[in-house]
Subunit: 138 residues, 2 copies
């Protein structure tokens, strides 16, 4: 199981502490700079579409089995897998973003709270139906 | 970037060819057997909840830059990242499942089309709002 870094996040966020918690209203802009070798693999993406971005969070804290959800000590400890904490057994992030523009190997996206230099492992289209609980799907 | 296998899929599917394409209606049952060491990290999951399961697809085909969506040759070639093909630069799967039951380190789930023995890398709760395009969120 060998991971390939296919791209890098270009972001105004320098430190993890600056990154807002994931949420629908952040709209944080960032650019995913794909390794030019993979550029043909982007064909078919179009602006306005929603994408999943999977990154490797390099700068996570030491792993804990249980955490306070959203880092809020007033909330009871919960198993880390049952939260979206980045400090997971494998620091794989999963973020739904909106593709603002695609130019060559550069994807400008809205909603990606990742620090400058974060390695990108995968990009997938959001697909209605399979990416929605059935009772939420239209 | 070193991946830890945190669990294994126990499934009636022996071969990738038997696996149905991802879709909302498959409802394929499978069990995720977590390494017992990680069992405390599951605390807080409850039956009925929707989860993301991230696996490593070991038995993918040689990687192609462009593929026919859903393996259908009548559909024009598209960049592989713009599809959900498992034959990606990093064979990371992303599947939304429903948790049927959690007993100890065993999660019975509905909607996971993965073959017996597939390594599991991460499990995350599906979170309304952040995992939905804003225009689809309630």
């Amino acid at each position: 199981m060998e991971l390939k870094v296919i791209g890098t996040v270009r972001s105004a966020l320098a430190e993890p502490m600056e990154a807002p918690k994931q949420g629908p209203e952040t709209g944080q802009r960032a650019v995913i700079e794909l390794d030019p070798a993979w550029q043909p693999a982007l064909e078919g993406f179009r602006a306005g579409q929603h994408l999943w971005v999977l990154c490797w969070f390099r700068r996570t804290k030491p792993f804990k089995m249980r955490v306070h959800p959203r880092g809020d000590p007033s909330r009871p400890l919960r198993g880390v897998l049952a939260t979206r904490s980045p400090n997971r057994p494998n620091p794989l992030s999963l973020t739904l973003v909106r593709l603002v523009s695609l130019e060559g190997n550069r994807l400008q996206v809205a909603g990606l709270e990742a620090v400058e230099g974060t390695p990108v492992l995968d990009i997938k289209p959001w697909v209605p139906g399979i990416d929605q609980p059935q009772d939420e799907a239209k």
